[in-house]
Amino acid sequence: MDKLILSVSPHLRAKTNTTIVMLDVVIALMPALVMSAVVFGLRALLLVAVCVATSVLAEFLFGLLCKKPCTVGDLSAVVTGILLAFNLPVGVPVWQAVIGSIVAIIVVKQLFGGLGMNFANPAIVGRIFMFLAFSGTMSNYQIPNDAGELVATATPLVATGDEVPTLLNLFLGNNNGCIGETCAVALIAGGIYLMVRKVISFHIPVVFIGTVFVLSLLVVPEGQTAINYALYQILSGGLMLGAIFMATDYVTSPYTKWGKVIFALGCGLITFAIRQWGSYPEGVSFSILFMNILTPYINNWTATKPFGGAK
């Protein structure tokens, strides 16, 4: 008999790993990826490819440079790349997307210690960085017209008069915005997949979206029905993408159930406040970043009460 393996129990593990979890997120993003190409044309796919390739390469080279084990196999850089690309208008130049991806992976993730150690969502900060650095291209929302040429039109959150899309078009994704955020039905399908696979729980998406919905009911403009206005608010902008895929990032959101609820409530409140009173039309990324920073405190406030534990 060869040497026996000695290890601490348990000697049995569930059939899962980080790669499988990340792969599930990638799969959940596929419907929205298809819809981004349908709505914005093939350039949307180019942006996704560029962001994913840059993210993976940046992760690989950083590991090589710092003599750390290669971690691209866990697919977390792929997720970051797709999410960052989903947050870009279709007309953003490739070189800007490359810089955004490098900031996301190197500055936000690797410099803090790599996967699991970053305090803010890399894709969110990458997007905010690009928003500040390349504000021209990042606020120039274009969409192909009937002839296939990219033309700038209003996004749902700033649209007025004839430009206002119907709820059905918002739901199906037939409206202007960042390439991955417009099709609510594709994003919701991905979210349901993640919940069925138990990758995420319902807490963050439902409370985040629910908070924006309820608060919107309080500020309905004259001439609109309350339900229509609130639905319009939750189907517009980056809310679905942010609430389902970005705010649920394990590393940067609370790990307790009540923590998730508080986190999502905060996200909803800030998103609503920025949309309502801020100078930006959209506030989803800022709200998530702000709550990312509060996450360690929320974890602390919502620590579990051990079964039978004395005071």
């Binding site: 060869d2 348990p10 000697h11 049995l12 593990r13 569930a14 790993n17 394990y250 051990p306 039978g308």
Partner: protein, 439 residues
């Protein structure tokens, strides 16, 4: 409705559930360690060269919390000396070379039991320890002084570990002994309520125990969900009688005594025959074992002898375990002896023995979501790494029962149980120093 405790769904692998136990013939020799229970080690009372018979006392209890040990084969004592125990410590062990006869000692006569005191004395003399795993001396547990403190006895038939079916077979094949055991508890401990907790994946055992419940209104059967770890003491008590054992307290403090079903049947058998705890029924299984089955084995038999009896190995064993895969202890070699509280030995081939390499924690919180005791393994890992003892204390790592749910479910394959064990030890050290400083 009480809120549910969490857990994990583990593969059952109860391959041997339909196999009544087979008695193994006497091995060439047995090596019986003196620490087969929680508490003070037993003290040998035989010397090299002594002839012994099955059931003869070979070591006396080493204190109040301790248990006597009896010869499991007849033959000659060939060694009384140090042995390396599975936890790495040195322990005294008695080696007996078997004469192959299995002659039962004339000292084995049914004990005279007439009241509480003589019952406890008999339990003490029987060498009984908790056979479910922990090995706490049964006489100490049952010696509650005032029997009115016992409101319920919970019989543990959960058997939540994968592979193991020894308790299942006990309940099915020895149902009459369960009944006699309950009679003893009623008669001498004045027990009025007995709840038998069994996981739902054992319908045959549940049916058998329900038959007893129909005959005796003190007995009730609680079918437990097949969610690991139903057999954990605090979890079992909560799910069977709805009580919470507070931190630092014992089940008896909330009026509950928990006994493994096999401990109970052993006591019933002992009361009739006077043959002390010298053999153990256990499950032999695992991907490397040729013929998995339930076997009745003399205590002190080496794992190797038992595996040989089960047809040897069909694949090269890479890991040998005392107990199930969730809480079992890996041993360094196959000479490890069968102990009083061994309810299974497993031999795992490479595919089950090699664990995946850990990757960075992604703070998913699944360890928190699955912990039956609502603990926070993710925080213990960080607190231990940074030496934050206050956090370990505040988050109650001391309550961890090491059931393994957190490690099982972790997608990053972190060794969370290992970490919790270390954190518990570090916290104890820290608290001892703190209390020492205050004095």
């Amino acid at each position: 409705m009480l809120p549910k405790l969490n857990g994990v769904i583990v593969p059952h692998r109860k391959n041997t559930a339909a196999m009544p136990a087979v008695k193994m013939p006497a091995p060439k020799s047995v090596t019986i360690p003196m620490n087969m229970h929680i508490g003070a080690p037993s003290v040998p009372c035989v010397k090299v060269g002594d002839e012994v018979k099955v059931g003869q006392l070979i070591a006396e209890a080493g204190g109040f919390v301790s248990a006597p040990v009896h010869a499991s084969v007849s033959g000659k004592v060939t060694a009384v000396g140090p042995m390396l125990a599975s936890n790495g410590s040195q322990v005294t062990a008695i080696t007996i070379e078997s004469d192959g006869e299995m002659t039962v000692s004339e000292t084995c006569v049914a004990p005279a039991i007439s009241d509480y005191d003589s019952f406890i004395a008999a339990v003490r003399a029987s060498g009984a320890v908790g056979l479910g795993g922990a090995g706490f001396p049964t006489a100490v547990k049952l010696d509650v002084k005032d029997t009115s403190r016992i409101q319920e006895v919970v019989i543990n038939g959960a058997e939540c570990e994968p592979y193991i079916t020894a308790d299942t077979r006990t309940m099915i094949d020895d149902a009459d002994l369960v009944k006699e055991g309950v009679e003893l508890l009623k008669k001498y401990l004045n027990v009025q309520k007995v709840v038998i907790g069994i996981e739902k994946n054992k319908p045959e055992a549940i049916a058998k125990m329900n038959e007893l419940a129909r005959e005796d209104s003190t007995i009730s059967v609680k079918a437990l969900p097949s969610v690991y770890p139903q057999g954990g003491e605090k979890v079992l008590i909560y799910n069977c009688v709805g009580k919470i054992v507070p931190e630092g307290k014992l089940p008896i403090d909330v009026g509950v005594v928990v006994m493994n079903c096999t401990t109970l049947t052993f006591l019933a058998k002992y009361a009739k025959t006077g043959v002390p705890l010298t053999e153990k029924m256990m499950t032999v299984d695992g991907s490397a074992v040729a013929n998995p089955q339930n076997v009745i084995v003399p205590i002190g038999t080496s794992m190797q002898d038992v595996f040989d009896f089960c047809g040897g190995f069909k694949a090269e064993p890479k890991k040998l375990l005392y107990g199930g895969p969730m809480m079992g202890i890996a041993v360094p070699d196959s000479t490890a002896p069968i102990l009083k509280n061994t309810n299974a030995i497993l031999a795992l081939a490479a595919k089950d023995a090699v664990l995946p390499e850990p990757t960075p924690c992604i703070r998913c919180g699944k360890c928190i979501d699955t912990c039956p005791l609502k603990l926070m393994p993710v925080e213990y890992a960080r607190a231990l790494a940074t030496g934050d003892m206050e956090l370990l204390e505040k988050r109650k790592v001391n309550l961890c029962m090491e059931c393994g749910c957190c490690s099982f479910v972790c997608p990053a394959r972190r060794p969370l149980v290992e970490n919790n064990k270390l954190a518990k030890a570090e916290l104890r050290k820290y608290q001892a120093e703190k209390n020492g400083g205050n004095k």
